[in-house]
Amino acid sequence: MAQLPSFALDFERPLLDLERKIEELKTLSGSGATDFGQEIARLEKKARRLQSEIFSDLSRWQVTQLSRHPARPYFLDYIEMLFTDFFELAGDRRFAEDASIVGGWARLDGETVLVLGHQKGRNTKENMLRNFGMPRPEGYRKALRLMRLAERFGKPILTFVDTPGAYPGIGAEERGQAEAIAVNLEAMAGLTVPVISTVIGEGGSGGALAIAVANRVLMLENSIYSVISPESCSTILYRDTSKAEKAADALRLTARDLYQMKVVDELVPEPPGGAHRNPDETAESLGRVLRKHLASLRSLAPQALVEDRYAKFRAMGVFGRR
């Protein structure tokens, strides 16, 4: 159901203020003193107009902010809304459990699938556990272990991308962050089961790609996918993090951009105001697109799935000939 989030981005605020006012009037109306029906109707119309004004023409930076919205549904929310019988599987069997990537068995319409995704935290405590959705090598190695498991049992893999990037830390480097990502890229290329990856929020560079070498790559409408964050890009280009807005434009990192550049296969529509304004509707929308692609991939033989994925990524890139 639609909800009024407690946090608002700057550009969401005018709309939210208006919606709060409407709520107030409704409460007053409900108490029976005066009838604000007409006024409410007028304001609701105004709110709808304001919403379409704001959201019909979002800047790339605004989409970036929406993709990171603290109220945005995360991977575990989609698990709850889309799947049944989720059975989480932990650990890489090498070093540790990394809670910034979550994975396990689940059912979609009664059929077993392996689900896997980055997980951010909603508060400081959760973010300590989830490391803000930034995996260490253990996370990628757990992901690999689970994908291999799915392959052994012939089950499709659905991954959900939502990370600022792989974690840049001392331990992560010592244990081979680059190697862990690299191994996943190669391993995913050879998987003999259907793989569908959906960017549900932030697709941060190699840390995202390491679970996204898929037969189908989908993106929620207000998500981003980029080789570098606009902030880091801005630091390198303009020696200034405050030019992130400019960098976001230069990088062309929104779902719409990537769809136009044919890097992703389909956009998943979000409800008016963004996924966080109506998570159920978002999940429903995502579920429709996932089911459609899963159905078409299920008809492919194991080797055909590998070929399909190879052809997709082999064609990536834009270059000329002298």
Binding site: E173, A178, E179, A182, L209, L251, G317
Partner: protein
Amino acid sequence: MAAWFSKKPRISPVEAADVEALRQQPSRMQGLWAKCDACNEIIYRQEIERNWNVCPLCGHHLPWPARVRLQTLLDPGSFEEFDTELEAQDPLGFSDSKRYKDRLRTTARALGEADAFVSGMGRLEGHPVSVGAFVFEFMGGSMGSVVGEKVTRLFERAFENRCAAVVFNASGGARMQEGIFSLMQMAKTSAALARFRSVKKPYISVLLHPTTGGVAASFAWLGDVVLAEPKALIGFAGPRVIEQTIRQKLPEGFQRSEFLLEHGMVDAIVPRRELRTRLGALLSLMG
């Protein structure tokens, strides 16, 4: 082919992605003398070049231009360059202090290279190899669509010819100016490598100073054998990014070849002067 053999090797004691900066220091680049940045001694340039750009006094490994490296390590006259026609485009219309298109043009003109990777077929101690090397001077050896395509084709040629693949890596990572297309090169090259594995010929990756980011996190670290030159900086994130994240100074030697060997992340450190014989030995052992 002959044209580049005659090209004068360059010594660059500085790592600079920015060609303008390189050109502003012609005295260090092209004079008779060069300064070793490790021991600070001034050395006759020819003497360094004769020693494969390794400082004859302290053993420091200076950058070694890609073409000179290939020319020196491969059997004489065996290298045949491929994919020279590939040319970078500007799919995003990217522009910062200057337009990406202009940056490409001036860099290409200054270096006489079309992009950041040179590749082809050759022989190494008699073994046929599909081989390539990064041109680090070209925008920090960054991987855009052209580099990704060349690396992919390198593995495809190795696959078709049933021969070994050897890559000399030196790169700052993915090329920001080509945005998402650069990122996708990581997947493309790794997928091509996955296919090459089936011929059961060795892929040897040599990590040079520096190898980081999207190149480290794809084919560079996927060698059947991964070698490193001494004291090369190798890792996923750059040291500055890590220091900013963890808000502390990194220990001496962090992310250097010796550190990686100690942590089990590379097979061996091979001094440059031993590269040819050690690579030859591996190719012979792995057949």
